[in-house]
């Protein structure tokens, strides 16, 4: 099992704490079938992939994929990016990713001493670095974490791998987007409580069918993903994942709809009466007809 990135530095009062859905993401990305698919899709002779996690929270999912990219993608030359509405989450994600890369891709034998995975020292190698021989000196790099709404700040075709663990819980409404005033220090305990409740609601409240935020991201996928781009999106049973997948398979692009889209269940958990509680869809383009 690949090591889980350390999140001991993350303040969970306003940031989603890694839970069942986060761990399903880690298990799915590192499963034999997904690793094989990704390694083939992003063969080492192709340009370095950009990896974006939208709404990264603690950053645990992104850090896992990036730090373990030599195993999962068969290459370490990846460019890591993240967005979150919450500035505190942006800071946390950056730290999680940078630390995980340092812990798992440190090939310098002089600092390769501590086997602990919960240590917060940045200049230290984890067990993976010892077990895994690195094919080259290339180390993954985290480019930046942006405070941004979904992927709206990225230009068309800029992302090769997009990860999204959305706010998927059905709620009456989705919360408003935060502004700068949501991040100035609160003046009272009650204000602080209200602030923390609000910021946490951003991590789970999905509006109608729990799909309002996910729909916005799905609608932006054809724009932000590169031609070889692939998106991983988590859905819960109430989001009707099989209907969502069917809908994506109906997307068409290009002259006479020459390019179509694929959606497959890459991972799931908690099957009850034939229905999965959580599902991760892999979404990507496929040429239907050669020119």
């Amino acid at each position: 099992m690949l090591p889980t990135p350390c999140t001991a530095h993350v303040p969970f009062d306003t940031i989603y704490e890694p839970a069942e859905d986060s761990y399903l993401f880690l298990d799915t990305l590192s499963s034999a079938s997904e690793t094989a698919w990704l390694t083939q899709h992003f063969s080492p002779t192709t340009p370095s992939p950009t990896i974006l996690e939208v709404g990264s929270g603690s950053g645990v999912v992104l850090a896992f994929l990036v730090a373990n990219s030599p195993t999962i993608l068969g290459r370490a030359d990846v460019l890591s990016l993240a967005t979150d509405l919450n500035r505190t989450a942006c800071l946390a994600t950056r730290e999680t990713v940078v630390k995980a890369i340092a812990a798992q891709q440190n090939t310098d034998p002089t600092t390769n001493t501590s086997p602990s995975t919960t240590d917060t020292d940045t200049n230290r190698a984890g067990p993976a670095a010892q077990a895994q021989e690195s094919p080259s000196a290339v180390k993954s790099t985290h480019l930046s974490t942006l405070q941004s709404n979904l992927a709206s700040s990225f230009k068309a075709g800029s992302i090769d791998i997009l990860l999204f663990n959305p706010p998927y819980v059905p709620t009456d409404a989705v919360p408003r987007a935060p502004t700068a005033t949501d991040f100035v220090p609160p003046e009272s305990r009650s204000e602080q409580f209200e602030r923390e409740s609000y910021l946490l609601s951003l991590t789970y409240a999905g509006g109608k069918d729990g799909m309002e935020i996910t729909e916005r991201l799905l609608a932006d996928l054809p724009r932000v993903l590169s031609p070889r781009g692939v998106g991983y999106v988590l859905l819960c049973a109430q989001n009707r994942p099989r209907e969502v997948a069917e809908r994506i398979r109906g997307w068409r692009e290009g002259v006479d709809g020459a390019t179509g889209w694929c959606a497959e269940i890459a991972g799931f958990s908690g099957v009850k009466a034939g229905w999965e509680k959580l599902v991760i869809l892999r979404v990507w383009r496929e040429c239907i007809r050669e020119e």
Partner: protein, 144 residues
Amino acid sequence: MKLLTANFLTCAVKGCRAAASSYPLHFKDAELELQEVDFQPEFIHNIIPRIDWEGLRVMANELGFPKIPDSKPEGDALNDEQTMRDLHRLLLETHVVEGRLCCGNCGHEYMIKEGIANFLLPSHLGKTKNSIVEIQVYADGFAL
């Protein structure tokens, strides 16, 4: 925030999507920081085909970096050590800690603090056409 990030960014204002002048965003008052990492020519070779060369050239010039080649290095040019070292510094080692990123179309400025750029739009800049028209009027008086 590594400088290379700007190669993948655009203005978050919807009305700017179709405008050529919304890319690349322009750094203003950028406070740069160098964080040395091992020289990895192989990584640079693999990044080059992934980036928008013109966008990178504009950014490097605006920030006063050593001039990078006019077109994407290919073939033998990839073995030129000085070019690769210049690109290594530009792509992997240079961070923006404080400053702003500005849109050449609408003039909106995205603040960068402690290396985190804020792309959240104020509510008046969100969706309606009227608000975008107002911003364009404002942008006319904005010298880049």
